[in-house]
Symmetry: D2
């Protein structure tokens, strides 16, 4: 349905990351361990540089989870664009997550939400 909006179609791919769910949950569980490890380092007054190395690793882990969720979202957008034939709406939907991931203002060029 080309007239369907991105918001309605959102339900179509609401579960699109579920195939990666096990992988995501494993990574998040490891990440929880990383956070606790950094807390232990701070309790033990370990060297700043070693702590910064661990916070860098944690940041990379967060980014890799984001990227995986983003990929599933983009895949959902593409599938729904193909189903609905509405390329423009899903371009906006994709650029929305791209801008967010780059920390830029969202929907910078769109006139409506």
């Amino acid at each position: 349905m080309p007239t369907e909006t991105a918001k309605d179609a959102g339900d179509h791919f609401r579960h699109s990351y579920s195939k990666d769910r096990a992988q995501l949950l494993r990574r998040l569980s490891r990440m929880e361990g990383q956070v606790r490890g950094i807390a232990r380092m701070i309790e033990r007054d370990e060297y700043c540089i070693d702590i910064l190395q661990q916070t860098s690793a944690l940041r990379a882990a967060v980014e890799s989870v984001s990227l995986l969720v983003m990929e599933d979202h983009v895949a959902g957008c593409l599938r729904t664009a193909v189903e609905t034939g509405d390329a423009a709406a899903y371009t906006e939907e994709v650029m929305d997550v791209v801008r967010r991931s780059l920390g830029r203002p969202v929907r910078a060029r769109a006139t409506a939400d």
Copy 2:
């Protein structure tokens, strides 16, 4: 044609940013002025903090040009996905530019190029 590869289909949206071309060229011309302005500040031994403010502004300008080119590329991917019906290939194409823009290794999950 669902069997068409992303590479062949690339020609379909090769010119997709042309509607934004005037805007892009204006921004690049302004950016050239910014670079020359920073050079002048260095020649005049201006204060580091003031120079860093200008390099920040320049970096933001570069990112906004990238985002505009990326948006045109993503729009092309979506249009071609709708035309060809091949959502998966264009998901990879979109994620490729997203990963590049985040400075992450390209096509991290793909097995082939």
Copy 3:
């Protein structure tokens, strides 16, 4: 002692972040909660965009912890530079964490580690 190396002097500020320790531990404990919250969202198949918002918040939290540890390290470098009179060694030490925090190659301009 101007002849003391940055490495030896490291002991001087090994515990420099201890005044911020309570704050750091509180933030890390909150961060652990954030990670578990994201895992729950994934288990419940929540919407990608909502998950990405939470991973962004988590990334910001990681960066704020890094910045706090970095600030304590920089404070330690400055104090030790003043004590030892060796500005050059601690400039390298400070730039080392700055480059790391920007994800750039470490000690790019130094000839030795």
Copy 4:
């Protein structure tokens, strides 16, 4: 003079990057060429991905100039801290450029500018 403020002392290292001036000017001149190259690519409707590769290279060039200016500023802060004996003021001065370079709010922990 330990009572001298960071602002007054700023004059001490106002010219601290001058030894790198030739290198900075060479890089900026090359950068101007990069900007013109990107404009030419857009005029010729070249492929988005190729353009994004060039904007990435340009962003890296901007960051390397920032890092060089920042290094000179940090070196100046360290020298002045050693001269004045005021480690705390120059810690704030250094963290100020670090936060700016990370795109974080400036002087987040200071009460006054």
